[in-house]
Amino acid sequence: MKVVYFAWVRERIGKAEETVEPPAEVRTVGDLIGWLAGRGETYAHAFETPRVIRAAIDHAHVPPETAIAGAREIAFFPPMTGG
C-alpha cells in the first residue's frame, strides 16, 4: 500500500511517500504506526509520540483503530494548522 507523509512527519522520515508491505498482523492504523516506528531511527523519531499523529485513509480522516485492509493510500501527519 502507498503511505504518504506530511510536515514534520515527512521531514523526520526523510521522504514524502513510499510503498510498504506490512505483515498480516498489522491490521489497524495504530498497528501500522507501531510497525513503521520499528523501521529505523528516522521512523522512530517521526512516530515517537503516536497520540499526536493524525491519519487519513484515501483522503478521509480516520481514528487509529481503523482497519487498513483495502486502503489505497494511508497518510500520516501532525495536527493540522491551516486557516
Binding site: V4, F6, T81
Partner: protein, 156 residues
Amino acid sequence: MTVPVTIRLQQADFDTAREIAAMTDGRSDVGAVVSFSGVCRGGEGGDAIDALTLEHYPGMAEAEIGRHVEEALARWPLLGVTVIHRHGRIEPGENIVLVVTASSHRQAAFEAAEFLMDYLKTRAPFWKREDRAAGDANWVDAAAHDDAAAARWTKS
C-alpha cells in the same frame, strides 16, 4: 436551486473584493455577504518571521473542505459559499485564506463563515511552517483553542 460553491487551493494571491462581488453578481436574492480573510502575521511577541510556508495534502484538502462546505449547506440556508486557501510561501501581510458566505439574512452567513473557519483550522490538511532569517524554521503547533472552537459546533 443549486447553491454556487467555489473551492480553490492555489499558490497565487486572490482578490478579496472580486470574490465578494461575485457573490451577488446578477442576482437579487442575497441579503447578507460575510467574508473572513486570514492574513500572515509578521510574528508575535517580538519574534519576527520572514514568511510562512504552507504545506497541504493535494486531493484530501479539496475533499475535506468540500465535506465541510456540504455540512454548512445542510445546516444553514446559504445562497453561496467560496473558500480559497493558499499554499506555498506567504509573506507577512499577504492573504492566506478567504471564506465568503452569502444568505438572505445575516445570521446564517455569519455562523456558516465561522463554522467553516473553525473546521479549516483543525480538519483541513494544511500545515504552517515559520521561516526565519538564517534558515531557521519550525512547524507551528496546533492550538488547543482552535480545537475548542471547532468542538463547539458539535454540541447541541
